[in-house]
């Protein structure tokens, strides 16, 4: 069973949230981020190359032009491999744990799996970025201190726009909590 909704992120790009229901104990949320726009790519490349050409006319050294090409290529590869996130997936498996996957534009996939026994709570954090935006976080238990929190893990790395973020977070957290609430009743909000 699939379900899709569209939102917009902080910069105005289009985000799509897909919900998949595999079984009563397994659900997946997929957030697709806006693609790399050709316009911004062309703008950055032109700026770098114009600056390099300007330096070349000053110094008369053709190494600057080759260096500019290398820098642009390496910069683009680095951006696609380390920064540009294509899709983020959240897989909730009952009684096993929560898995968060980020797929980058270069094809790299970064997965984190958190076991259910380590999850202390699920919270919505506020951040001030021009206005107030909301993002969902998972609190992990501290092995040493029973009441302490060892880590706060944000679920998604892309942030939705302020007025939409609350809706997205509430949507996710309600599904999340109803799921977890069946297993851990103390996580349900009072």
């Amino acid at each position: 069973m699939e379900d899709e909704q569209s939102f917009s992120d902080i910069c105005g790009g289009r985000l799509a949230l897909q919900r998949r229901y595999y079984s009563s104990s397994c659900r997946e949320f997929c957030l697709s981020c806006p693609r790399l726009s050709l316009r911004s790519l062309t703008a950055v490349t032109c700026t770098v190359w114009l600056a390099a050409y300007g330096l070349f006319t000053l110094c008369e050294n053709s190494m600057i032009l080759s260096a500019a090409i290398f820098i642009t290529l390496l910069g683009l590869l680095g951006y696609l491999h380390f920064v540009k996130i294509d899709q983020e997936t959240l897989l909730i498996i009952d009684s096993l744990g929560i898995q968060m996957t980020s797929s980058y534009a270069s094809g790299k996939e970064c997965t984190t799996f958190i076991e259910m026994g380590k999850v202390k709570d699920v919270v919505i954090n506020e951040a001030v970025y021009m206005k107030v935006i909301y993002y969902l976080c998972i609190l992990l238990k501290d092995p040493v201190e029973p009441d302490g929190i060892s880590q706060v893990v944000p679920v998604f790395q892309t942030f939705t726009a302020c007025d939409i973020s609350e809706k997205v977070c509430l949507l996710l957290s309600s599904c999340f909590l109803s799921h977890l609430g069946a297993v851990w009743p103390e996580l349900l909000p009072l």
């Binding site: 595999y22 009563s24 104990s25 498996i93 009952d94 009684s95 096993l96 898995q99 997965t111 297993v183």
Partner: protein
Amino acid sequence: MGLVSRGAAAAGLGAASAVVRPGPPDAVPHPIPTPPPESAALGSSRMPGMVLKAFFPTCCASADSGLLVGRWVPEQSSAVVLAVVHFPFIPIQVKELLAQVHQASRVGLAVLGTWCHRRQETEESLGHFLEGLGAIFSHEPWLQLCRERGSKLWSCKATRRQVPPHPGAPYEDQVMLVFYDQRKVLLSQLHPPAAVPDRQAGDATASAGGLAAVFDTVARSEALFRSDRFDEGPVRLSHWQSEGVEASILAELAKRASGPICVLLACLLSLISAASACRVFKLWPLSFIWSKLSVCEQLRHRLEQLTLVFSTQKAENPTQLMRKANVLVSVLLDVALGLALLSWLHGKDRIGQLAEALVPVADHVAEELQHLLQWLMGAPAGLKMNRALDQVLGRFFLYHLHLWISYIHLMSPFIERILWHVGLSACLGLTVALSILSDIIALLTFHIYCFYVYGARLYCLKICGLSSLWRLFRGKKWNVLRQRVDSCSYDLDQLFIGTLLFTILVFLLPTTALYYLVFTLLRLLVVAVQGLIHLLVDLINSLPLYSLGLRLCRPYRLAAGVKFRVLEHEAGRPLRLLMQINPLPYCRVVHTYRLPSCGCHPTHSWGSLCRKLFFGELIYPWRQRGDKQD
């Protein structure tokens, strides 16, 4: 055929000759007297609402029908299937095998259920027969996994015989199948390592977190995987090694040879350490020299590491084993690079070329220093210096430089021989060669060091004098007892002489400060070059190459965690997941397995360094004690 099943029913479990074979029974088996629960339910409690997770090895997905053998973890409500026992088998022998493995590995194995791999859809008799086995090997809950041959459709059932503990709880549990690659899970190591309970402390409990318990179970049950299908054992198993036990001739030879080699090398290394600890080397000039040279430090470090690697004690845990392997690979790479450097140096008479270039370079540096001193003796950067002091200092340093040049010229016939012998030391490793290079640089720039010390001492004296006289000028003095500045009444002649000296020092300050500045900069330049070399040596010493290589070639060995993938799903069928190993990222590999380096880290922070430079205190960036001497 029917005789067999009735025989099994009648004889119960006591008869060793009752062989259980699959076959359509003539009659529905009579209720068999429930045997004493030998493989009793290892805790029938479970968390309410938890789905039963069955961890199934991928290698058994195509195996023939049989019994599922593994471990039941009640706290996680998960069943870890380790192997499939095929027909024909004798129940008593299966139980013996499980007891043997339990004794060897301290893991509580049991028969968890049945596995049915159907050829056609009409073999329902097999299904009934398998259900009957539940009476012989009682286990709570009893798993029944079934698969159509050649299709991806699975069906799972987990039944309980006992009355459920909660009135609303179902009689049958929902089952989730998690496939795992047995070989990879066996060989991998989780980071951070979960606290594994002591082997002697009885059966392994599942106090380790859920998935760590699965890894732990598979890793400890190695005894179960030792036989393959070519062995003529009483019980036929299917697991990851059943097609043939993995072994390598090279590994076996290495294991056999490593014993005597380790003993031999350990003796040799202990001889070397005893010789180096001998009394002769503790005498004053030698001990002083040894403590200053970075080569000796590096050699000592390498000796320690080699003693660790070739010690005859076995590694107690995987971390120690990795450390030994890292050290060995690092030493081997070091020696290989050193030999490459050696062959490069000794080919095409490069040593001769180097020796010939050395004296002119030293001359050139001395000439440049002379020019610099002449410039300082004139009007450097337009500043007006005190002529007399300037001349005195300038001439003093020039004479020192002249002595140094004569010394270098005296040494020049022997330099090629010295370099040739020193170049041989590169066979001990690239790090040793780099340390020698650093020491040679220090020796050759000794005159710069001397100039720095003279300039710094003069400047320091001047600053001390100035601060003390400045206090006198204001009518105060430093109280040594109370460690503070107190007011003091001076006599008129004290004040007069004090003020006079103060003005003299103030006007001589620019000259001294300039000399100090110039020579400090030169000294810092030399220290920076030496620092780079030390950094490179540290890098080679501490990089865990074996771990990085393992992460590159066998990423499943170093696991940061796991990841799940949902397999093809159909409504009404159990959920199927594939569990894969999530390898450790490279930066964490380096961070976890870094080898300890020499320990010669700069002891100052930037702030204290600036403070020392301002007040003219001598800086020793690498050593706690003094500095090199010729």
